[in-house]
Symmetry: C2
Subunit: 404 residues, 2 copies
C-alpha cells in the first residue's frame, strides 16, 4: 500500500513496512467504543449522530452507521459532501450554512437524495437560505440554535428562538425541524459545570416545548440535539428525563468517543464515569502516533521524528510505549520518565530520565519506535491523509483514507 | 473545479464560486518573493534550495525551480518522494533518515535518478544507513549535522563532527558530501541573537574547513548549508565572507519566504531589512485565508466560520480586510479594531469594536467575507488539500494541490 506520507505493507510484524511517523487506530478499542456509545445512546432513548468532523474518515463513518448510528454530524458543507459521497445519507450540519457556494453544495446533496439538517441563529441567514433554496426549488430542514450568553453561536434566549421561528414561517423553502445547542461553550460562573450544563439542557427542553406549543415546529419528527464529547451524559440524561415525546427525538453528537483520547477527553470521561456509576467500563483510547528516535544528541534528550505536522498540539503528546525497530509488538520497552517538552513542525523533544543502574536493557537507540498518545483526536486526524487500522499485535488490517 | 473542502470556479468576481473558508496565494506577492529570494541568494554566491515542507505544493516547487532554485529541501522521506513525483530531482532532506521503510523510499528515488542528500549525526544511524544502502547496491550522499548544545539534532562540536566523518569512511555506500546546520535553534545567552547566529555560522565554516583539511570530504562538490526563514541573511553573509571555495558551495534553505507571513517571520524580516540596509524592499505576505461571518450573536462578537482546521494557530490570525459577499474585490470594508480572541476547531471568535457614529456603511453582516493573515505559513498550508492562486482582483488563476 502507498500513502502520501509513507508506504504501508500489511505484514505480520510491528507496523512492518510502514513509513513512520504514522497514525494507528487499534481495532479492539475502536470496536469497544463503537458499541459502548451506541449502547449509551440507546439506553437513553436517544439517536446517535456522531460528529464526523473528528475523524473525517469514511471507513469510521461506515462503522458508526453499522453500529446503529442514525446519521453523521458534520461542521461544514464540504464535510457533508464528503460524508455523503461515502455513503452517509442523513447529515446533521451542526453549524450555520453561510455563503452561496456552500448552499449550492447542500442543495446538490438534497437533490441527490440526502436528508440534511442545518442550523440557523439569525434572521439574516434565514433570509439568505430562504431565497437560495426557494430559487433552487428545494426545501431545507433547519434547526434553531440556542446558545448561551458569552458563548459561541446561537440565539441567546427563548424569546429570540421564538422570534426566529416566527420569521421562518415566512420562508416556504425552510422547514423548522427542531432545536440545536452545544453545551461545550457553557461556562459555570459558580464553578459547578455539571449544574450549568444541566441547566442549559433544561433551557433547551423548555425552548423546544415553547416552539411546539406555539405550533411553530413544521417537521413531523423534530430533533432536539446537543452534546460534544465531554458532557454528553448530562445532555442525554436531561433529554431523557424531560420525556418530550412527539414530535421531538433527542439526538446526541459526540465525536471523539470513536477513538477516545489521551488528554482532555480522557479526563472528561472520568467525570462521566463518576457521574454515572452504572456505567461499568468507559471508553478506551484507540488512536496512537508511532514515530522514531532520530537523534540522541545530548544525555537526557531524544529527538523524535514527529511534530505538529503529525499530531495534535493542544496538549503535548504523551509517550506510551517503546519498541525496538524490527522487534515484535509484544516486546515493549519502558518510557518511564519520558516527557515531551517541545514540539516543532517535524520534531518532538523528549526529555529522558537519568540512566539508573548501568543496565542497558532499556537503553535508547536511534530508530526506537515510540507510541504517543495525543489530545485531542480532531487535531491529530486532520494531519493525515490515511490512518492505519491495526490489531493488538500492530498488524495493519486496513488503510483508512481521510477526506479533510 | 472541485476540492475536498469546497467547490472552485474560476470567475471574474471576488472568489466567485469558491466555497469558504479557502486559502489564497496572491500572484503579485508570490512572484515578487520568488524573484527577491533568488536574487538574494545569487548576490551572496549561494544556491537556493527552498524548504518545501512549508508549502508541500508542487506548483510552488515548480515556480521556485523556474526562478532559479538549485533544488528543494524536504524534512521527510515521503516529502522527498512527493517532490520527486512532481519533477523536483535534486532533494536535500535536511533531516536524519530513520527507519527501513523511509530508507526504502529514498533508495527508490535514487534508483529513479534523484540526487538526494540527507543528514547524519550519529554513528548508529551511519551504520544503519551504510548497511541498508550497501544491501541495495546504492550510494547515498550524507551531510554531517552540526548542532548546538541545548539545541535540536546534530553533533555538538567539531570533534564529534570529525569522529563521525571518520566513521563514515568505513561505509562505502555513504558519501560525505558536506555539512548541515540549522541556526533556528541557536539560543543567545546574552540576548544578542544576531551575534550568536553569526558565531554559529562561523563554527560551521570552521568545521567544514576541518573536514576538508582532514581529507574527509568525498564529494567533488560539497554543500555547506543552513538557514531557516528568520536569519538566512546572516548565514548567507558569513558563508559568503568565509570564501570557502571548492569543494564547498553554500546552500540556503528558507521556506516561508515564498508566501512570507503575517506574524513571526514578518517580524523577523524587519530584522533582516534593518541588518541589510542595501535591501530596498522586503518580502510580501502572499497567503490569506478567506472566511465568512456566520453568526453575530451578541453586540461586539462575530463568529467566523474558520478554525484550527483551516489556519495556523501558533499565533491568533489577524483580520486584514473585509468584503461584502457578492461584492467586488476593490470594495473593501473596514476591520479596524477587529481582533481574533479565540480559535476553536471550526470557529473563530472575533471581538468587534463598539459601533462609533451610528453610520452603518461598515455594518457587519452575516456572510461578510473576512481575509485573515496567519503565522506561520507551514501550519496553514498543511490544513489544505488545495490552495487557490489568485490575482490582485481575487480572480482564481489556478487551483494548486498540496501533497502532505
Amino acid at each position: 500500500m502507498h500513502t502520501d506520507k509513507g508506504t504501508i505493507e500489511t505484514g505480520p510484524n510491528l507496523l512492518a513496512g510502514v513509513s513512520l511517523p504514522a497514525a494507528a487506530v487499534f481495532e479492539p478499542a475502536l470496536a469497544h467504543n463503537l458499541t459502548w456509545m451506541q449502547a449509551f445512546a440507546d439506553a437513553h432513548g436517544a439517536r446517535l449522530a456522531p460528529h464526523g468532523k473528528t475523524t473525517m474518515t469514511p471507513a469510521l463513518f461506515k462503522r458508526q452507521l453499522e453500529a446503529g448510528a442514525w446519521g453523521i454530524t458534520l461542521a461544514t458543507a464540504p464535510q457533508c459532501r464528503a460524508a455523503f459521497a461515502h455513503g452517509a445519507t442523513r447529515l446533521l450540519m451542526a453549524n450555520q450554512l453561510i455563503g452561496e457556494p456552500n448552499m449550492a453544495i447542500i442543495a446538490d446533496l438534497i437533490e441527490d437524495g440526502a436528508e440534511v439538517y442545518c442550523v440557523v441563529d439569525s434572521a439574516a441567514n434565514v433570509a439568505q437560505l430562504g431565497r437560495y433554496f426557494a430559487a433552487r426549488g428545494l426545501r431545507l430542514n433547519v434547526l434553531i440554535e440556542l446558545g448561551v450568553a458569552g458563548g459561541r453561536c446561537g440565539c441567546r434566549d427563548q424569546t429570540q428562538v421564538l422570534a426566529l421561528a416566527a420569521r421562518l414561517q415566512e420562508e416556504p423553502a425552510l422547514v423548522l425541524a427542531g432545536l440545536e445547542g452545544y453545551e461545550g461553550v457553557v461556562k459555570a460562573d459558580d464553578g459547578e459545570p455539571a449544574a450549568a450544563i444541566r441547566a442549559y439542557a433544561w433551557r433547551m427542553v423548555e425552548a423546544a416545548q415553547a416552539l411546539e406549543e406555539a405550533g411553530l415546529i413544521e417537521a413531523e419528527t423534530a430533533l432536539i440535539t446537543a452534546s460534544g464529547s465531554a458532557w454528553y451524559d448530562l445532555i442525554a440524561e436531561v433529554f431523557h428525563e424531560a420525556e418530550l415525546g412527539a414530535p421531538f427525538v433527542p439526538v446526541l453528537r459526540p465525536g471523539c468517543y470513536v477513538v477516545h483520547d489521551h488528554g482532555i477527553y480522557r479526563q472528561a470521561q472520568r467525570g462521566v464515569l463518576k457521574r454515572q456509576p452504572t456505567l461499568k467500563q468507559g471508553l478506551e483510547p484507540a488512536l496512537e502516533i508511532f514515530a522514531q528516535v532520530q537523534s540522541l544528541p545530548e544525555p537526557g534528550l531524544a529527538v523524535v521524528a514527529m511534530g505538529k505536522r503529525d499530531i495534535g498540539a493542544d496538549q503535548l503528546p504523551e509517550p506510551l510505549r517503546r519498541y525496538r525497530e524490527g522487534g515484535a509488538a509484544e516486546q515493549t520497552l519502558s518510557v518511564a520518565g519520558w516527557k515531551v517538552v517541545k514540539l516543532m513542525d517535524q520534531h518532538a523533544f523528549v526529555r529522558l530520565p537519568a540512566a539508573a543502574d548501568g543496565s542497558d536493557a532499556d537503553e535508547v537507540r536511534i530508530g526506537d519506535i515510540v507510541a504517543f498518545g495525543a489530545s485531542h483526536p480532531c487535531l491529530t486526524f486532520d494531519k493525515w491523509r490515511r490512518v492505519c487500522r491495526v490489531d493488538a499485535a500492530l498488524d495493519v488490517i486496513e488503510e483508512m483514507p481521510t477526506c479533510f
